[in-house]
């Protein structure tokens, strides 16, 4: 992929001297920043902006390892073929008019795809804005010239954006507001060949990139995406468009993207240690915070995240404010986010007391205003920051600053240094006069203080920084191969030739063979058989009619609960027999009284393949809508993590005197279900419903294994 980012020579197919056209903008942008060779291609001109113009890319001289195409869609395939002929390895197609425009465009796009597949040429786009690299000053895009008005300040955040306009817009907005210094912005458009995975992989290995932010409307190859995330410890922040039904419809018409199953993608992203954002600037703010305070790797000690004290993982925050009110609302946000307010040590409090009037009781959040009045802002802030930086129970400093009045000016550099020396991330909530606030913002960012303009956003970003370590930890959980379940050959044989849903009993025997605990049950051939089984299980028992091809036993009246006597066994045996065709069989089960019902399942997702589902069952399913997904195979840690993502933890922890759910056992079941999905491609779906929790132990009470076809 390096020819896309660092080519030696670029052909601009569709270059033009017409100043309002994209073909001109691309050329000008290259001429402004790119130091390699530039070859305009357009049969109508001999020369553009002083550069020799070629009538075909075939005649472009060496070196030429990238072409940028901006010509009408219908002409693109021919141009690409010429690039193939000229042996150019990569092309960025910035023209629109493909799949996003309907049937005709889709055909054109398919022809591009075919060329890429057949010839190996790499195609980026179409319908995109190309890429910008602020470090090398590469603007391979028709972005307006105004992009050069600001000097690029290279940063460590790279963006991948599945929306042409947004890529340019983000860059200009972020650059000029001093809110984010960017390394690369990649606009990927319709993804005919090069997709987010290719670029993500490149950026994971790019030394100029520390954090990757993505805006995507689809994840084409979910498993590869996860695998790439897991290959690195760089933070990845994802904003997905199309999570709602209407949004998904809009995504379809925008870049012809299938948004996919929201819950599955959420689960997969959590599993791969990807942090999900919900809004554009929020995504960029989180990326900024993560690039400033990268999680400390155990193997690569970071200057931030002090050794020995603080440890930086618990998220205990010291709030230093000039306004009691802002401190109080900060406390509310910190509480809601799951972070904590630090309990300041007596030493910290005494150190701070030296700058406060005697009457002032100091506690966290610390309202510095009385200290500022008494000792000036510089001394008050420095004393306080110094004190909390020395406190082992403070993991991060949350500073509130106002500029433009009130004598609140402080020495940013010295405060920032204190935090840096202590290895504690420092965040700032800034209000103030516009121009002064902007200057402060830029300066403080340079000094290593992450500045935000809203309290809630500040806390969201603090939270992201502290959550990141846990998220990246998850990447290490992943298993690449199946955890070890082997389905005995006899059960593989038993599935052979079958299609659709297996009956409940066979389904459970298969699950049981994979060490999933299932309810005690047996098929009764005769009434006597049934009675002796019932007495062996102990009353009450459950009797079910297994009618071939009938999945909905309850609706058909084929499920009888609470059978408590020999008489009842007999009556039910007869009435079940009567309700089924000849081939119907009768199943007798021990009736399990549970504290809680769960649902566990396996689905095959078009983007992520076999995925395991775990959710609340019974009457709570619809009310709580609490289900989580994980991509199979699952490691033990991943399975436990999935269980931990259920919203209703209260119910799992032993609600109203019930025993807590045995999470290890439940995790084992999730792993087994996932393994089955991986080793048995003939299984389309598994549905364990309910998985009853009794005295903490899960048992599959009803289950279906559904085969393909």
């Amino acid at each position: 992929m390096d020819f896309f980012f660092n080519p030696r020579g670029i052909a601009v197919i569709g270059a033009t001297p017409s100043k309002t056209k994209g073909g001109y903008a691309i050329l000008k942008n290259l001429m402004t920043g790119f130091t390699g060779k530039i070859y305009p291609v357009n049969p109508r001109y001999k020369e553009i902006e002083g550069l020799t113009c070629y009538d075909s890319v075939r005649r472009v001289p060496d070196p030429a390892d990238l072409a940028i195409v901006f010509i009408p869609a219908a002409m693109v395939p021919q141009a690409i073929l010429e690039c193939v002929e000229r042996e150019i390895p990569g092309v960025i197609i910035e023209s629109g008019g493909f799949a996003e425009t309907g049937e005709e465009g889709l055909v054109l796009q398919e022809s591009l795809k075919q060329i890429a597949e057949e010839t190996g040429i790499r195609l980026w786009g179409p319908n995109c804005m190309g890429l910008v690299d602020t470090v090398r000053k590469h603007v391979f895009s028709f972005a307006a010239q105004s992009i050069w008005n600001e000097n690029f300040v290279p940063g460590k955040v790279s963006l991948i954006v599945q929306s042409g306009m947004l890529s340019g817009v983000f860059l200009i907005d972020a650059m000029t507001h001093g809110t984010l210094n960017i390394s690369k912005v990649c606009s990927i458009g319709n993804k005919v060949d090069v997709d987010e995975c290719d670029i993500l992989e490149y950026l994971m290995n790019d030394p100029e990139t520390a954090v990757i932010g993505l805006y995507l409307e689809s994840v084409v190859n979910g498993r590869r995406f996860m695998q790439i995330c897991r290959s690195s410890q760089k933070p990845v922040v994802l904003l997905r468009g199309g999570k709602s039904e209407k949004g998904a419809k809009a995504a379809m018409s925008h870049t012809a993207s299938l948004a996919g199953n929201n819950a599955v993608i959420s689960g997969a992203m959590a599993q791969a240690g990807v942090l999900e954002a919900s809004d554009f600037r929020q995504m960029m703010d989180i990326c900024r915070a993560l690039s400033m305070f990268p999680p400390r790797q155990s193997d690569t000690p970071s200057p931030l995240w002090g050794e020995g004290r603080g440890e930086g993982t618990k998220g205990r925050i010291a709030v230093l404010t000039y306004s009691g009110g802002a401190g109080i609302v900060s406390s509310d946000f910190i509480d809601a986010s799951g972070l904590e307010l630090s309990e300041l040590s007596p030493e910290t409090l005494s150190a701070m007391k030296t700058v406060f009037p005697d009457w002032m009781p100091v506690s966290n959040p610390v309202d510095l205003w009385p200290a500022v009045e008494l000792n000036g802002a510089k001394k008050a802030y420095e004393t306080a920051v110094n004190a909390v930086c020395a406190d082992a129970d403070v993991d991060a400093v949350f500073l509130h600053i106002f500029v433009g009045g009130f004598d609140l000016s402080l020495e940013v550099a010295s405060v920032a240094k204190m935090a840096k020396d202590a290895g504690k991330p420092i965040f700032c909530f800034l209000l103030g006069e516009r121009e002064e606030a902007y200057q402060f913002h830029k300066h403080a960012q340079e000094m290593g203080i992450a500045v935000f303009r809203e309290l809630n956003r500040s806390v969201e970003c603090i939270k992201a920084v502290f959550e990141q370590k846990k998220l990246l930890e998850r990447r290490k959980f992943a298993v690449s191969a199946v955890a070890g379940v082997l389905l005995p050959e006899k059960w593989i044989e038993a599935m052979k030739g079958k299609k659709g849903s297996l009956d409940e009993h066979l389904s459970k025997r298969i699950l049981s063979a994979c060490k999933i605990p299932v309810v005690e049950e047996k098929v009764a051939a005769t009434v006597e058989d049934a009675m002796s089984l019932a007495s062996a299980f102990g009353f009450p028992v459950v009797m079910k009619g297994l009618s071939p091809g009938k999945m909905h036993k309850t609706e058909l009246g084929l499920v009888r609960l609470g059978i408590s006597s020999d008489d009842a066994v007999k009556t039910n045996f007869e009435s079940l027999k009567a309700a089924m065709p000849e081939s119907g069989r009768i199943l007798i089960q021990k009736q399990i009284q549970g504290d809680l019902e769960l649902i566990v399942g396996l689905i095959r997702d078009p983007q992520f393949g076999p995925c395991v589902m775990c959710g609340l069952g019974g009457v709570l399913t619809e009310i709580l809508d609490d289900a989580v997904f994980g991509v199979a195979p699952l490691s033990r840690a991943e399975a436990l993590d999935m269980i931990g993502r259920l919203k209703t933890q209260k119910l799992l922890n032993g609600f109203r005197g019930a025993a807590p759910v045995d999470r290890e056992m439940l995790a084992q079941i999730l792993m087994c279900v996932g393994d089955l999905g991986c080793i048995c491609p003939q299984i389309k779906e598994i549905d364990i419903n309910p998985l009853i929790i009794s005295k903490g132990k899960p048992t599959a009470v009803d289950a279906l294994v559904i085969l393909n076809g």
Copy 2:
């Protein structure tokens, strides 16, 4: 209160020529903007800044109807007494050092309170920043002089802020960022006398104020606050600090405020048509949106909110964007907020098609980029805005704008006029180059377009505008007197002399006397009595032991469910008798099989008085944590509205084949409980748990009426 806002002459007690002191800043601020008389008071000077300085406020000449005090706390009471002597009606005390500093300060503050109560002088503060009125250029505050650097652009939003620093900070930040034009900012501090209610009442009648935003750490007089809100149709937006436990603790040490019961306040605010915000700038953004698009009053037609078409109440939004991605994420936010994407009519679509390339399928969200490329931004945007403004199924226009490149400039004034003429509010999500974005922001705001820098914030504000009408509608629901429940004298007699919890049976007879449906039940004196009652009710029945003074029957083993035979009645009668002292009685009830359990109650809140609670009961109580409060008495509409605020509407609407809850009956019960709280001050608490819903009808199955003492 007018002397606070519009005095003829002001004494500045604590005026000083020392330029770094607050007493100087107050004086300078008055001299810069105030056109009335200014009298510095300080025994150490004869003259300050060319003004005669008086040694005591007693010697200040006429007219003098306001004093601003900025002297050490210990000296304040004496100064106030001198103001009383001089017959100055109002004083703003900006000094700190009172209740917020501990015991000693609290005593000082109490002495001020006493002076106010005894003499009638109105005291504003202490520990506050006073007030700013941008219309009259009144800065009655020690705010820094830099406040004058920007010209005040008067707006229609007034703020009440229980935090000194924030009031100044908000003003300067908002003014200089062009994000909000403010009318008045009032900093109320410790509220020794003048509180948020006094100021709210004033602002409700202030022609310069259209919307009121509050930051509060406590609502001192909840009922008065509600009553004032109900007296007007001006929108009120409230941000409360101290909603979390830690936040409440911080509020206590900040302005000595008791944050109060969060759920009660939330309910009361919803009931009074107050919109709650969660963050500072969000609160101000919502205020701005509401001041630009005030809800149409049925009696006072507004130029906005077009007549006949659109109607502006449903919140159907047309999204016009330059970026497919931003359109998609907008759709996601719109969906999550409960607003809707408009279904654009065929006429609207054809009108828009005229500026789009043929291949482009136009739908909402409308990605204008292809139209911009073809026809330029001006024509593309104007055609689109014109089309959606003419569409009866569009209630608001959500425009995405980028400035600073990409030839996206449009004629703001003409677009704004289209929306205004059509009576549709218009919102803008703006990204772009910093300086251009700022200029655009200010200009667009002046033209009547509400501009925001984040998608989510834009949608929050659109939502607030559409929700506002419904919220204000609620103010009209309120009943000032009890709805009509009368408790017959015999029951009032029955409560006489009693203290604490009445027994279950008596409690339910009282509720029943107030037309609350209770379960069929009777006290059985003998076993025979019990058996005949049981057979009259029909098996199964419930038997309970009523042991005087014992509230927790279940824990004492005094509740027996599912009694299904005469034998069981007999056994249980005997064992219940044996488990209780002589005076114990035995209650027999019909056993009701319900679809759903609710809890209904009455509490007395220190800030809001008698409040009615309604929540999910049974096992769901703790899992769903779903309870709502309303301040009694409740009108029918208010009670229905309360029920509508329960999160778990799904359960109420007839879950899994159950009949939907009879909301009218449930509302009637809530009203009755509230009335009881109002007419019987001797009742401290009522607890109906469970209120069982069977076939949609509620019945009180267990209940306690708890008396004072």
